[in-house]
Amino acid sequence: MATFKDFRNDVKPNWCPGCGDFSVQAAIQRAAANLGLEPHQLAVISGIGCSGRISGYIHSYGFHGTHGRALPLAQGVKMANRNLTVIAAGGDGDGFAIGMGHTIHAIRRNIDITYIVMDNQIYGLTKGQTSPRSDVGFKTKSTPQGSVEPALSIMEIALSAGATFVAQSFSSDLKELTSLIEEGIKHKGFSLINVFSPCVTYNKVNTYDWFKENLVKVSDIEGYDPSDRAMAMQTVMKYKGLVTGLIYQNKEQKSYQELLHGYSETPLTEADLRLSKEKFEELVAEFM
């Protein structure tokens, strides 16, 4: 059986020392091993940005696509081969700016993949511009006087878009993050895991210390019930999104694949490419 070390390759990440993404990488590797996966059974599909490089740093199948399009790519992979474990990954710019349309629709479509967002509230690879997750007043190269646009509350958006699995974590908390990724992969449907993954080079506000001070674990909130959507929404609003843990899970809702009429139990990749002569003649006759 594979261990987390089997999910390591010999590519040296080009992330800055101290970047939160290292821990996300480690958590994915640990979660995959904990679930008993072999490296070839996992496909990591990523977008563009610092975090998008993650698919190249894990010994598994990986596809590093275009900016903002990790989700359509990953959904295509999963639709084609339902036996693969598919993880989509990227940053907050990738998923919540250029790729926001896909994010909303992937959430409501509910295909059985896991989406891990490394949320650092800034654009890192382009050297420090504001992101849709940056707070009002946040000063960057593109907002020298401070951002005037409010930050997207991605937890609220996911809940209202019909998400069936919403989690949030902090890259320093490897144990919680690994466990949430495992739960996300096991969840039958789309799972969103937003991870606060600090950018040590360009974001001097939302630092490791800042998160440690401000984040609240939902498991520490008395009576918190992750199956209660209204409670999830209220809690997220109350804590301004600064909560971690399993925020919401709907175990009843069937996944897209389970609902799609006629969707094959066997992977589409195994479908017979050749029509039988009888079927062909039948199709032709419909046009006569």
Binding site: Y61, T66, G76, V77, K78, S264, T269, F287
Partner: protein
């Protein structure tokens, strides 16, 4: 007795004009006539003039006719809009309800028939279309029993009474003509057809069927005119064949999802028109760079921007050949008939896997939506070839190493292994990469990978890249075209030849890589080269000049008013250019 006829029905959109033409033409197709139909419609659901022009012939036809023998009109606008097309001796059959009038200075006969009143008396005015079908049949001397089967198929699910009522309406229409007009009725008796059963379909049907036959088992698409029929057909058919269709949030998702599915190993594609293709351009580059097979259908319509969404044009050519930043190998094919649309679409999936690159099947609105009689499609002609797809077991990888997915090979094509395969792990990225897929910016590697990718299409094997009709070693004219203009060009050539003009014809079926070796001798053997195309800037002519030279003798015949070329237009323009 006539062997060919041009019939048109016109009215307001949403009034059943389409089904009138449909019932009329399906019945005639089943009698063994060859048909070619073209719909004039607007980007709205109710209201606005629409018409369906159908050519009926005892021999194959691939173009709409220059003129019109019979016009069936449900409103005055249909007469005013289409009257100029009627030939001398033509007939207008119009609903008496709107007191139709026609210009008096033409030798055209008007029959005002109470379509609406007859239908209302039979139960519902909705059946006025059926009355019109019956009236037309009387003029053509077609027995109305020809409609029984198709009326049954269309209305059967609404109950036998509805079927009978509709047949009654057809009969009443025919009877009215015979009884009221008797011997005064001008007939256009159609020669009997051969009675053979042939397919009757639009190009989009053929594309969709070709995709199924070619092994496509996943489609991701976004609705758009004139491509949606392809998706709608596959949604009906794919599930039972072990496949699936997703309607995505936009064309970016559609194209990217198709790339993901192809990467995973299913034959996947998307279909759209110009605006959608514009959105897909970045992903096309991704497929080129990552060497992922990808098939895209572009059913061209009038551009730019939203342009003329329901009208004919061929102006995406340059965008399809060059559209994406950077340089990638890409195949652009252009079927010229519905049969070819079927075979080419099926073949596109082979080429995409063999050359591991994007393949664009170009169509145009006339080819995609023109409904026509199609000679039998042959099952045995369909091949499934998967190129260098690795299917056997792989030896263990070196520790932490990757499978060489982008191995530099002589033909530029590398072995392709699908995710899920033990010992095949590799990375795929749109970033320049080494043989293992790992990002690399090293100069020597960049050159080796770029050369490798571009080398793949150097020796592309493509069956009949140019449809040629070459009768002359030395020709006065070489006419060059692509896609649906083939029929109009062929008819124009017949007339030019009758005038003693020596004309050769080259219809380009593989637009990229351009088949220079096939086309150059034809250009050299012609005094003048006329490129007939439906755009305003002469895109095909420019492609021709780039690839074969001889710019001095290449001239254009262009049409970009939204309507298809008529044979006579091509003929007249060519005569002027001689």
């Amino acid at each position: 007795m006539i062997h060919q006829l041009s019939w048109k029905v016109g009215g307001q959109q949403g009034e059943g004009i389409e089904s009138t033409g449909e019932i009329f033409s399906i019945a005639l197709n089943r009698l063994g006539y060859y048909l070619y139909g073209y719909r004039h419609f607007s980007s709205r659901i109710k209201g606005g003039h629409t018409n369906n022009k159908i050519r009926v012939s005892t021999t194959p036809v691939r173009s709409i006719a220059d003129d019109l023998d019979i016009l069936v009109a449900f409103d005055q606008e249909s007469i005013d809009f289409n009257f100029h097309e009627l030939r001398d001796g033509g007939i207008v059959i119009a609903d008496a309800k709107f007191n139709p009038t026609i210009p008096e200075d033409r030798n055209v006969t008007l029959y005002a028939v109470p379509f609406t009143d007859i239908a209302t008396n039979l139960g519902t005015s909705l059946m006025k279309n059926m009355v019109a079908v019956g009236a037309s049949s009387a003029v053509l001397d077609i027995d109305i029993s020809a409609y029984q089967e198709v009326v049954q198929e269309i209305f059967g699910r609404k109950g036998q009474q509805v079927v009978e009522k509709n047949m009654e309406a057809i009969r009443a229409g025919a009877q009215y003509m015979k009884e009221q007009l008797g011997d005064r009725m001008q007939t256009m008796k159609l020669a009997k057809a051969d009675g053979k059963k042939r397919m009757f379909m639009i190009g989009n049907d053929a594309i969709a069927l070709g995709a199924l036959a070619g092994g496509a088992r996943f489609m991701a698409a976004y609705p758009i005119t004139p491509a949606s029929e392809i998706m709608e057909y596959l949604i009906k058919k794919l599930p039972e064949l072990g496949g699936a269709v997703i309607q995505t949030e936009d064309e970016i998702a559609a194209c990217t999802m198709a790339i993901g599915a192809n990467y995973a190993g299913v034959r996947a594609f998307t279909a759209s028109a110009g605006p959608g293709l514009s959105l897909m351009v970045e992903s096309i580059g991704l497929a080129g760079m990552t060497e992922t097979p990808l098939v895209i259908v572009d059913t061209q319509r009038g551009g730019p921007s939203t342009g003329l969404p329901t009208k004919q044009e061929q102006s995406d050519l340059m965008a399809m050949i060059y559209g994406t930043h950077g340089e990638i190998p890409k195949i652009v094919m252009a079927p010229s008939t519905v049969q070819e649309a079927f075979y080419d679409t099926a073949e596109a999936f082979n080429l995409a896997e063999e050359y591991q690159c994007p393949v664009i099947v170009l169509s145009d609105l006339q080819l995609s939506l023109g409904k026509q009689t199609v000679e039998p499609l042959e099952y045995d002609k369909i091949e499934i070839r998967r190129g260098k797809l690795v299917t056997g077991e792989l030896p263990p990888l070196e520790k932490k190493g990757n499978f060489k997915r982008y191995e530099v090979t002589e033909d530029g094509i590398s072995p392709r292994v699908l995710p899920g395969t033990p010992n095949g792990i590799h990375h795929v990225t749109g970033v320049e990469h080494a043989e293992t897929g790992t990002p690399s910016e090293a100069a020597a590697n960049r050159k080796a990978q770029m050369d490798k990718r571009l080398r793949k299409l150097k020796n592309i094997q493509f069956n009949t890249p140019v449809h040629k009709n070459v009768k002359h070693d030395e020709a006065d004219l070489l006419i060059v075209g692509f896609l649906s203009t083939r029929g109009a060009i062929e008819e124009a050539i017949e007339r030019l030849e009758q005038d003693g003009v020596k004309v050769n014809h080259a219809h380009i079926r593989l637009l990229h890589p351009f088949p220079t070796e096939e086309v150059l001798p034809l250009v050299e053997a012609a005094k003048k080269v006329v490129v007939v195309e439906q755009n305003a800037t002469g895109q095909l002519a420019n492609i021709l000049k780039m690839n074969v030279g001889h710019a001095e003798k290449i001239v254009n015949v262009l049409k970009y008013d939204g309507n298809p070329f008529l044979p006579n237009e091509v003929y007249t323009k060519c005569k002027e250019l001689l």
